[in-house]
Structures are given as C-alpha cells and as structure tokens.
C-alpha cells in the first residue's frame, strides 16, 4: 500500500528524514514513534505530499506520488483523511459544515452529504452539536470533529499527526478507539505519537524513528 524507498526530505533547522525505507500493508494501523523533532510529522507530510521529496520515491498503491502533478495530487489527497494536532477546523463554519467539506470537494450531492455527516456525527457522539461552531467545543470534541471529517469520505488512508497531543488521557483513548474502528473496516492508518504509555496496550505495528533515521 505505502512504500518508502530511501526517502530523504530536507527541512529547516536540519530536521527532516534521511534515506528512510519501509512498507505498510493495506488495512494496517501503524504507529510512528519517536521523540519530538525525530521526523514523524515529516513522514506524515511526505505521504500527504505537502513537503518536497528531495531523494527517493514514495509509492502509494503502486503510484510514485513524488511525480504527481497538481491535479493528480488533488485527486490523490481526496482519498486521504487527515487529522491534525491543532485540528485545523474552520472556525466560521459549523461542525456540520466542517465535516461536510471533504464531501463537497468530492462533488457529493446534498442529500448524501447530510446522511453521511449525520452518520459520522452519531459515531463520534456529537450529533447534538452539529450546528455549533468549533470554538464552542472542548479540545477533545474538536479532535472528534477532526476525526469525523477525516473518516466521513471513507478514505483508503488516514494520516494522524499527533492527534492526542493536546488531549487528556480519556479523550485520547476515545480518539484511538475511533481510529481502530476504522482500521478494522480496512482503512490504512498511520498515527504519529510520542506518547508511548497511551498506546502500549494497543500497539501491533510501529515504526520508530530518531533524528530522521529509522530505528525499528
């Protein structure tokens, strides 16, 4: 599903990744582990192709994404669900509108959007808050909206960049439960975290990196 072949990404302050290679099979829930600044976010951003890949190649479903043109990249990203540590919710749009955004970008009709968003809101337990704005929610609820926005279009891959970084342990568990549920339905999930105690009882597959290099 996702193959890294000697991938190097140079970023500011000598951060980034250096000649990393690994494979992730379809439907797996893989944790990216390592200390802050190790290069976890760079790997996530490389898969999303929001950073320039300096060397090597990344194959996703057999396609070299480093060679994608603008329109191919947009199409590729529409099949990825992204969860950010800082949520990146749009504050002047309601919870419903935030979750519906990826569906509108896919050209989904209004009736189906309504049905899918309501389903996913029920799944994350926020059906009663669909009309409120993100700034009216707690951190845990905002991250649930972010997860809902990522899973609503049923993507092949979900990338989660420190999704529990700003949450308390209980809210963090809820988020990981939701992601595990998606993984059980066949979605490939890559989650970056430096909080080992949170995941130690759940972990099946992991990639450990330090100073931009693969450790395990």
């Amino acid at each position: 599903m996702i193959e890294f072949h000697k991938v190097t990404v140079r970023r500011q302050n000598k951060k980034g990744i250096k000649g990393i290679s690994f494979n992730i099979k379809k439907g797996r829930f893989v944790y990216l582990m390592g200390p802050t600044g190790a290069g976890k976010s760079t790997i996530i951003k490389s898969i999303l192709r929001s950073v320039h890949i300096n060397e090597g190649k990344i194959l996703v479903s057999g396609n070299d994404i480093s060679k994608f043109k603008k329109n191919e990249l947009a199409k590729y990203r529409r099949d990825i669900g992204m969860i950010f540590q800082d949520f990146k919710l749009i504050n002047d749009r309601s919870v419903f509108e935030n979750i519906a955004l990826p569906l509108y970008l896919l050209g989904t009709s209004k009736d189906i959007v309504e049905q899918k968003v309501n389903n996913v809101l029920s799944k994350v337990g926020l059906i009663n808050k669909k009309s409120v704005f993100p700034f009216e929610l707690s951190g845990g609820e905002q991250q649930k909206v972010c997860v809902a926005r990522a899973i609503v279009k049923k993507p092949s891959i979900i990338l989660a960049d420190e999704p529990t970084g700003n949450l308390d342990p209980s809210a963090s568990d809820d988020i990981i439960d939701l992601l595990e549920n998606e993984s059980n339905n066949g979605t490939t999930i890559i989650m970056a975290t430096h909080n080992y105690p949170l995941i130690e009882n759940r972990i099946k597959y992991f990639i450990e990196i330090n100073d931009g290099k693969l450790v395990a």
């Binding site: 099949d79 990825i80 509108y104």
Partner: protein
C-alpha cells in the same frame, strides 16, 4: 459537476455572511472607483457638449455686402452666396437693421440723420462645418463669384482653431485620466481582495490539504469579486440617480453653461456602472488570487 458548481456558488454567496467586514470594504472600494470613473465619463460628455454647442451656436460667417447695393439687391446677393455656402440657416440684415445694432450715440445719430446708405447690408450664415480648411475654400469660392459685391467677410477662424485645440487637449487629458484611474481601480480592488484572501489563508490551506481542485479554490473568489462589483455598482447607481434627481436647472442660454448638463441619460450611466463594476470586481479578484498563490 453540478454539485461542485452549487458548492462554488454557495461559497461565493455565503462569504458575505462569513466575512461581512471584508465584503463591505471591498464593495465600497469598488464603489469609489466607479464614482470616479463615472465622473470621468461625465467630463468626457461635457467636453463633447462644449464642442457640439460651440459649433451650433458660435460658428457663423458674416458677409458685408458692398454699400453700393441697396437692400433689395443685397438680399438677392445674399441668397446667391447662400447657394455656395449651403448654410443651415441665414439671416439678412438691411442697412437700417445694421444701423440699429450699432447703438450709436445720440449726437452722431443726429448728425447722420436718415442717410444710412453708406452702411453695408449684412448676411449672417450659420454653419455646422467645423473644419477651417473647408470653410476657407468656401469663402474663396464666394470671393471668386461675388468679389465686387462684397465689402468684407468675417468668420472666427483663429477662435475656432484655438477652441478645437483646447477641446482636443481636454479629450486627451480625460482619456489619460480615465486609463490611469481604471488601472489604479483594478490594483486597488485587487489589493483589497488580496487582503481578503490573506485573512482566509488557513481555510484555503485546509481545503487544499483535503484535495480541493485549483478551480474550487479560485472560482468562489472570482464570483465573490463579481458580486462585490455588482453591489458596488448598485450603490454607485443609487448615488447617480440621486444626483440626477436633484433640481439643478440653469437659467442661462450660454452654450458653455448648458454644456454642463449631461446629454447622457441616467440609465446609460447605470448600465456603464453595472458593466464596469462587475469587470472591476472580476479583474481585481483575478489579480488578487493570482498574486496570492498558496502551494502545499
């Protein structure tokens, strides 16, 4: 595709409620530009009126008939000359009428008594031809045919030349001013829209990361810019209608004063405002979007 078009239209319209301050600033900027451009169009209309009114009211050829001819003979000569000049209309002034227009003092009047035969009759021709070369040729032709019967021919050649030059300078100035204001207006509008886009950079980044196509990012802004232009043209049209309905009648027959009354109707200004408003909104937002490319 229909759903995407709906999304684009929805995004454009909803931005008014999401970003009311930016929308108001953008619309008012375009309104100011439209009002200035309307004033330029009005100035152009005034200079056109000045040129037309000058030609219709002030262009004439005065032919003084030699005083050896009496009133009857002079009138016949006047009619013959008119066949050469082909004037719009002509006026014949007998010796007596010429004398009356002179406003001579009482002492001279007593001295002259009834003997006004020394005066020439006057033929006054109104012409619409403004080309001095053509008028010169006509006058030469008149002289060639009636030289012995004519005392003097007067027409304001230098006056006309100076006026034509003046009008031509005004036209060039207004044209240049119009172009400068149009360019400044486009940049002004684009800068306001650029700031507008800048304040929504995070929203755009989020959309790009979710796989929004380029046109889904750009088109809502272009349509939004055109909406701003439409609103601006409605505001400026209301102001123009208000000005048109003000009672500003002039009690003067002088052509210069009358030239300041616009011959273009209010609906023409409103139509131009609508077109220019939408165009300014489109060009401004297009420039703003292209200047503010977000790549991820």
């Amino acid at each position: 595709m229909i759903e995407k078009i709906k999304f684009i239209m929805n995004e454009s319209i909803k931005s008014f409620s999401r970003y009311p301050l930016q929308s108001i600033i953008s619309s008012l900027t375009i309104t100011m530009c439209l009002l200035i451009l309307t004033f330029i169009i009005y100035l152009s209309n005034v200079s056109n009126n000045l040129s037309d009114n000058f030609k219709s009211k002030e262009l004439f050829i005065n032919v003084y008939i030699d005083n050896k001819n009496n009133d009857f003979e002079s009138k016949e000569i006047c009619e013959e000359i008119d066949e050469i000049i082909k004037s719009d209309s002509f006026q014949f002034l007998s010796k007596n009428k010429v004398y009356q227009t002179m406003n001579v003092s009482k002492s001279i009047d007593e001295l002259i008594g009834n003997d006004i035969n020394f005066l020439p009759c006057l033929c006054k021709y109104d012409i619409s031809e403004g080309d001095t070369d053509i008028i010169d040729k006509t006058i030469n032709s008149v002289k060639l045919n009636h030289d012995s019967d004519i005392s003097k021919i007067v027409y304001p050649k230098s006056y006309l030349n100076k006026f034509e030059k003046f009008i031509s300078i005004i036209y060039s100035f207004i044209f240049l001013l119009g172009i400068i204001i149009l360019v400044v207006s486009i940049f002004n509008t684009s800068n306001v829209i650029k700031l507008n886009i800048n304040s929504r950079k995070e929203v755009l980044k989020t959309m790009i990361l979710h796989g929004a196509d380029d046109y889904l990012i750009k088109l809502p802004y272009l349509i939004e810019g055109m909406f701003h232009g439409l609103i601006a043209s409605l505001i400026s049209s209301s102001i123009i209608l208000f000005i048109f309905n003000l009672d500003m009648s002039f009690d003067s027959n002088h052509f210069v004063v009358n030239s300041f009354v616009s011959t273009l109707e209010a609906k023409s200004y409103i139509f131009l405002n609508l077109i220019l408003g939408i165009l300014l909104g489109y060009l401004g937002s297009n420039l703003g979007v292209n200047k503010n490319k977000i790549e991820l």
